[in-house]
Symmetry: C2
Subunit: 323 residues, 2 copies
Amino acid sequence: MQRVHKPVLGIDLMGADTPAENLLSAVLKLAQKSDAHFVLFGTADLFAKNSCPPSVTSVTVSEVIGMEDDPLHAVRRKQDSSLCVGMKKLAAGELTAFVSAGNTGALMASASLMLPLLNGIDKPALLTPIPTRKGEMAVLDMGANIICTATNLVQFALMGIAYQKCRGTSHPKVGLLNIGTEAKKGTPLLREAYQLLEEKFGSTFIGNIEGNQAFQGLADVLVTDGFAGNIFLKTAEGIAAVILEELGRSPEFAGALQTLHTRLTYAEYPGALLCGVDGIVMKCHGDADPKTFCQTIEGALRLASHNLIDKIKSHLLLSGKYA
Amino acid sequence: MQRVHKPVLGIDLMGADTPAENLLSAVLKLAQKSDAHFVLFGTADLFAKNSCPPSVTSVTVSEVIGMEDDPLHAVRRKQDSSLCVGMKKLAAGELTAFVSAGNTGALMASASLMLPLLNGIDKPALLTPIPTRKGEMAVLDMGANIICTATNLVQFALMGIAYQKCRGTSHPKVGLLNIGTEAKKGTPLLREAYQLLEEKFGSTFIGNIEGNQAFQGLADVLVTDGFAGNIFLKTAEGIAAVILEELGRSPEFAGALQTLHTRLTYAEYPGALLCGVDGIVMKCHGDADPKTFCQTIEGALRLASHNLIDKIKSHLLLSGKYA
């Protein structure tokens, strides 16, 4: 893939639950204080109402992939959608990274069709950093692959380790999401994955981690298939939201609530990273507010400035030698 | 199964993470204010140190099934364990209900081996009531069956409905734990279950429920396989514990914390009910404190006083007619 030097960030403004107008005005504000160049993908009527500063290029598209669209079908039929046009520009090396809050399946499908897979990776995965008592843990896969093999899970571990190294953790520890700590627990898939992870990673693999232990921060990387990962993340979001709302009802909590909110609301964290493909693709929650959308964009810029993809590539190359 | 009229509650004091002495003294206190007769199963040294009042019978056993024991092996070999002796007495109609905080797998295995399955049920399931914005939701299966068929999930729905009717909800609604709301979402198992649930229950089935929506209280019964159910429950517990601990650090939260704690700590809720067998078997968390253990006992007494098993049986019979 051709490299661009000044960060050029591609942003899909369409197809999210939040109105494109709201995302656009937040991004235009962000552009004013950012060194990056922004390339925005949206429909003509969206750009007609707003003028873009020099650091922003608008690319007008004629189609939009909606949340209800069948991912593969939409990606094949709606070639002039914001999502497909943006992904094509990322694949052509015209963008440093691409961010979308649209249809997750379509984003995945277009990335898989247009970007090369990284060497040694069979399936891309969605990685989400979640807060724990001891820092951020990278959880993958968060929903890209409902059905996985044990080898896929080992590859997810490799990518998670590379991601955490890129973020400054020198010896990231890997855990396997399961329903008990013993090696024999869980499905046949998980028992096989346990064995493979132990063989490949030795003491870097700290074993099975249960849902209630995950937030202790023992692992830096939590490996799971996309189904269990999605249940895990959404359940954590759901219960956190109920508690924060409950607290919000009591005026005496108002003071310290903000701190807790920042620490625990997943919306404060940059969206999911689609890893395994040769390019930085980030997925923001479909219902993310403009602030969160901008945080995802900033997260993508940070990962780009740390040369995430190159680091993942060298890590995969290195790990291949031990394999 | 033979029926006993005065409630006689069997309690396994052994094999939990909490010391048996602590459970025993809490149960003896509970016995003083309860109308039920308690039959306690424990080792000789445990009963040697404590004298039991007339409303309590102690049954001395020579073996203990530990948390690390292989369930089926332990149940077959340790026939004189508190868990097996208690289950045998429940099967013989000498107990109204049986409560244990020991090895979940062994409790399941002994119940499956010794108690008849209810008519129309192929696999017992663990049911846990969890708090939502609108009241308690019965979630099953919470971990008894890692691998399920779509028919198993329909049977879980039937048992969940009967349980909620027994608790006073006239028209319980059923949801299916999944990673998206559309019928086509999730694994092939879940797509098949969605179709069967829709065919069997009509508008009583409200569709797929995601982890983040589960706590809104739209469903009274949430159906899931034991793997996803266990991830769901433990994740909810884990994040709730982190938030409550975080709040506990701020003195200004102390006041209202207790209320929130009571509403959200799952330990305050009676343990899981093993349903699908002909007898009330309740499983308390292995690390439950004595207070929670007693709440589980009281929960079992409540279910017995409402004739839970008879109600489930008639509901299954009735549903069979529509099947």
